[in-house]
């Protein structure tokens, strides 16, 4: 299975008035051609920062990628010039964001914005751009595409805006789509539509998706493999069934046990005591140790390495790999 994107030991820090925010502390992640990889975690775990690092959209100052490599189709994105990155963004790697309202420019029509994306990355003429743009809108199942292309974002509903974003980002048929909380701000019934759409588009275009979300239900329904992040690291990575049925990291277990379910009544919810640590002065050793029911002495001192406990299942925890 060919690897499309390979992130190795990525470290991103933010230099702020209050101190150095160690947002990413050595992230390792691979995305295979054609797969949907989910990246889950709570606020501050670094999932969005990871995506922005890949796109090299980290605001700098105050942010800086201080270590690691991001290999896309074999080439290190961190070595690319700004011009080259601009070609890649929207072309080979696209990103959609959580809130389509603020990601779309309110003073340009939808058609203009989608067309702009096309114009930037493909050699086309005026007429051809229009055609491609309408095709893109049809691709995301926007009815009356030609007419709606002349609408402004505020005339679209939330779900349609998200589709327009998707149209914009997929118009150039990227290899990799990064979706950062794409359905979090949408209603449940609309979310179902958008997720279905993304699934169909993935099949049609044969692209990979990096789906970032805090919603474990969405992950269970759409992803092939899942990575769990905590405080700047990927602490567990496995295919979706394994992760949900037999999670190994105490945090993953706690997380899965603490969510209520729509399909059954639960006696109780698991509690992970305490709260997410500050990234400015993170706990030494394993960043999860202050909240871990199984914490040992070594957890306070040494950061656990990432180990493959079985084929395709990585865990970063001192409970494993004593051997």
């Amino acid at each position: 299975m060919k690897v499309l994107l390979s992130i190795r030991n990525l470290k991103t820090h933010f230099y702020t008035e209050e101190g150095v925010v160690e947002a990413l502390d050595g992230v390792n992640l691979d995305i295979i051609y054609g797969e949907t990889l989910g990246l889950v975690g709570e606020t501050g775990c670094g999932k969005s920062v990871t995506a922005l690092s890949v796109m090299r959209l980290i605001p700098s100052p105050p942010g800086k990628i201080i270590a690691g490599e991001i290999l896309f189709e074999g080439e290190n994105l961190l070595d690319k010039s700004p011009e080259e990155m601009r070609q890649i963004r929207g072309g080979k790697i696209s990103m959609i964001f959580q809130d389509p309202t603020t990601s779309l420019n309110p003073v340009y029509t939808i058609g203009d914005q989608v067309g702009e994306a096309i114009r930037l990355h493909q050699l086309t003429t005026e007429a051809l751009t229009w055609e491609k743009m309408v095709d893109a809108l049809k691709l995301v199942r926007i009815a009356d595409a030609e007419e709606r292309a002349t609408n402004y974002p505020h005339q679209f509903s939330g779900g349609m805006r998200q589709r327009a974003m998707i149209a914009m980002m997929l118009s150039c048929q990227p290899e990799l789509l990064i979706a950062d909380e794409p359905t979090t701000s949408l209603d449940v019934t609309i979310q179902a539509q958008v997720l279905l759409l993304m699934e169909e588009l993935q099949r049609e275009l044969g692209m990979s998706i990096l789906l970032i979300t805090h919603n474990l239900g969405v992950v269970a329904e759409t992803c092939d493999r899942v990575g769990v992040m905590y405080s700047g690291n990927v602490i567990e990575l496995a295919d979706v069934e394994t992760l949900f049925e037999a999670p190994k990291h105490p945090y993953t277990q706690g997380l899965l046990g603490s969510i209520p379910r729509p399909d059954r009544d639960l006696e109780d919810l698991a509690i992970i005591p305490g709260s997410v640590p500050s990234l400015i002065n993170p706990p030494p050793g394993c960043r999860f140790h202050p909240r871990c029911p199984y914490a040992k002495e070594i957890c306070r001192q040494e950061k656990p390495r990432e180990l493959m406990v079985e084929k395709g299942h990585m865990v970063a925890c001192h409970l494993f790999g004593a051997d």
């Binding site: 209050e18 005591p273 305490g274 709260s275 500050s278 002065n281």
Partner: protein
Amino acid sequence: MVLVEEERPKFEFKRSSQLQMELQRLRRHRPAMLGLGITLIILVIALLAPVIAPHPYDEQNLERMLAGPSQEYPLGTDAVGRCVFSRIVYGSRIAFLVGIVVVSIEAGIGITLGLFAGYFGGKLDTVISGITDTVWAFPPMVLALGIVTAIGPGLFNVVAAISVVSWAPFTRITRAKVQSVREREFVEAGRAIGESDASLLLRYILPNIVAPNLVLATLTFPSALLTASAMSFLGFGAQPPSPDWGAILSEGREYLRFAPWISTFPGLAILITVLGFNFLGDGLRDAFDPRLKL
């Protein structure tokens, strides 16, 4: 019964209220600190005027009229031999007093009206806004001059005239801020626990509209000073022998050619004071709302 373990507030290393954070930001703003310094120095001068000034401000020395700066008279003397330096030092009291009184009255009127207009809305708002806009449509200086011509000259009258015509910005800002604060959830939460309107205004809304008004007050001070000085310059304000800076400036007009110190130094005093307050006001504005960097 404690259910869950107590969690430590996240800012363990930075025990500060919102106010303290804002003060920290202010401290880092260089021009603001410069402004604060200037303002404080002038305040000290005003308070210690009798100690700092070498001569009483109205002491005439007819043997040394229109004398240039010297050891005895650091900034020279004016047409009747009064020490310019002493007059300026005592004048700082007037400047400060005028500024504070004018700003206080304007803010008092303006904020009160703004509170009512913004909070109650409806017809009251329409009426208050109408009055505010109408008054503000007139150039304040012209209005003030008009009033002073009617009631007669004098520092007190000038202060009253200026205050009565220039409260509009306070009303506008307060009204806008009240309207936005009013919609915030914690105000409704206050209503949910049974707070009366008066209590909501005093405890919930007022403390949250202080910031922009404080900035406005700091920036209004210099304009009040300038207007008052201008009125004194024209002869409407402080009457002789009062050491109002504008008045001194005016007195020095005739002698600009050969005794420029009489007009120059009070002018400089006004300039520095105005700059000081402006810098301070800028800093305050940035400290309270960094997003508003205009």
